[in-house]
Assembly symmetry: C2
Homo-oligomer: 383 residues x 2
């Protein structure tokens, strides 16, 4: 609840008081730009109808008052009066003291290790997720929170993995196709198509934008070995940062290079750090793939020794079994990973029997959008 309003700095700012004693300040131009009236925002689609240049540069708060719990403001020189719900102001307050360490993540992200996750792998059955919004919400929410989830009950047939992406979004088609076969081949253009074990990795770091989701589904799996495993890259990055802050700084402040030219007509290249931070230090993406790492040429000579030591230690931690969650995909099962966070690996397998998986890429924005829409619908229904 709002308790007081105090216009300051000749109308350029305003201070709001709240019943819990908190005080939050806003700027006049920020409030004007974010006004919620139907001349500023389309009532139909919510988009802003004006540009920043439609707002006078000398915008000031002429008058402000609390009316029916909301904040009512008159802006000068426009002479425009707008009301802001108290709840909206509280939710969008930017006047706060926060000291965040590089590598921070939002509350919605929970890091995990083998100890916390091996017996708690998030899973749902496909028919239940298809027909139940609550089941789908839980499953999508697990992907947001933990960066991976398993799905059971799919048909053990080619293309079934698209049923998973259809639940929330769209396949990202690439030079590998809308989806691709993962089985041992004679002349593979990618080491994924052998029976070798694959070190935990993120997929396609040589692509920019990197595919933010990957789905792997199983059609047949009668080999010895060939288990799948996943590793929380955010948890490993945090462990590296704790024991070696300088190593974390090196991997996050210098770009690596990645490349792939295994197929005719394809020469993909990207330049991005192994540990990517946003401008405010938020941990936003892990890229880790020994197969496609190109020569690192963006680290100064003086730092290269320490950079390589940090890369080695990061790899050691990634291989540490205490971070690894393992499962063997059965026919009709699939798993999804947030390819900006969770690494996946494969154990080597024998030549007898058959292992046939299919993989595809999709994007996280669609998944998070679908989840937000379901959550919004549930909230509206509850109110």
């Amino acid at each position: 609840m709002l308790t007081h309003v105090l216009v300051g700095d000749e109308g350029r700012t305003i201070e709001l008081g709240w019943t819990d004693g908190k005080r939050t300040r806003f700027h006049a131009v920020w409030l004007r730009d974010n006004a919620l009236d139907d001349k500023t925002r389309s009532a139909g689609n919510g988009q802003r109808l004006i540009t920043i240049l439609d707002i006078p540069a000398k915008t000031r708060i002429g008058a402000a008052a609390i009316k029916a719990g909301a904040l009512e403001i008159s802006f000068e020189p426009e002479g425009k009066t707008v009301s802001f719900p108290a709840q909206w102001l509280r939710a969008n307050a930017y006047d706060r003291d926060e000291t965040r360490q590089p590598g921070w993540t939002g509350d919605v992200i929970q890091r995990w290790t083998r100890a916390t996750m091996q017996n708690a792998v998030p899973r749902a059955s496909y028919p239940a997720a298809l027909h139940g919004r609550g089941v789908l919400r839980e499953w999508l929410s697990a992907v947001r929170t933990y960066g991976f989830a398993v799905m059971d009950g799919l048909p053990a047939e080619s293309g079934a993995l698209c049923k998973v992406s259809d639940l929330f979004g769209y396949v990202r088609e690439t030079n590998y196709g809308r989806w691709f076969e993962v089985r041992a081949e004679v002349n593979p253009n990618n080491l994924a198509y052998t029976n070798l074990g694959l070190q935990a990795h993120t997929d396609n770091p040589y692509r920019d934008p990197v595919p933010t989701l990957q789905i792997l589904s199983c059609i047949e799996n009668t080999v010895e070995g060939g288990e799948s495993s996943v590793v929380d890259g955010f948890a490993v990055a945090a462990a590296l940062q704790t024991e070696n802050p300088e190593g974390f700084r090196l991997l996050s402040s210098h770009a690596a290079r990645f490349e792939y030219a295994g197929s005719s007509g394809v020469r993909l290249q990207a330049k991005r750090p192994m540990i990517e931070l946003g401008p405010d230090g938020e941990l936003i993406c892990i890229r880790f793939n020994n197969r496609s790492l190109a020569p690192t040429v963006d680290v100064p000579f003086a730092e290269m020794g320490a950079y390589y030591a940090a890369y080695r230690r990061f790899a050691e931690l990634i291989e540490d079994p205490s971070f690894e969650v393992t499962f063997k995909l059965e026919p009709g099962q699939a798993f999804i990973v947030d390819n900006t966070r969770v690494m996946h690996a494969r154990k080597a397998f024998s030549g007898t029997g058959k292992r046939w998986l299919q993989g595809c890429y999709a994007d996280k924005d669609g998944l998070l959008s679908t989840l937000a829409a379901i959550e919004h619908g549930f909230k509206e229904a509850a109110e």
Copy 2:
């Protein structure tokens, strides 16, 4: 040409001398990791067969010599001997002094304004690009260098825009479909589907990853007005940086928020800066869209006034006609923009006549890969 080799730091580094007097140093572990032999890299697909953990932590250069113009190195304790072509070493040298200003871009990027571009719009005819690798190379190269290009000679029919993306890559399907209609509607869920003018903007900044390419094709255009225009966001950002370095710093060091919830089941949100820099200060992405800019909550109160002033100035420069290149799309024409760099705008148009465009998204990694493959093919043919 290599002139000398000097092993230093007890075998941990090596210094190479060149006929032009240049000296470049490398680390033993870097050389070992990037060895080109077929035990380290697959001869078939070029992927690395070993991980960093397969390389001994104490890797040293035991012996080094110039043999037949190449550098031959024996690594200890592995006792492994590998040869590096001089040209490869020169191309991948990381031992250099470079002081780059924030906002730098590679040599391949050329900034432009109306004065340099209005009469030099890169264009190609579709049949010529489809059948001529040289024509396609020039057109793709223009997109890489200038961030946009026009294509003529397409069929003036629905779906023709996919012929453009088929030349180099793959459509990015979204909640708008594989492609979407851009024409005036009665109850539009997006302001693009009105006859209003649209301020120069990048598309879908509320998506993460943002679509890195957009194609707009014209099927019918008999209205008054409705011209298209493009603005080089990298040129505008450089202009802002020149006149107001602190404003450039503010827009590049704080995230903005973008959102879209105009359609049922869709609630897209992203948190990214308007001017995005890589960890080494490279300018990598512009996001600018008044319609979908959500409340900015990641700028500290003390900096918000200056942040908004910088945003306003950035918008003024974007609207400055000296940056704007204008053309009117005719039926059978399309244009492509690098949506991480070049903004596009539309003039308002009259209600008489018909304006029917279609749009789709695609990704730049595929375009750059196809271009690199063509260039590689031409180079091989020349050698």
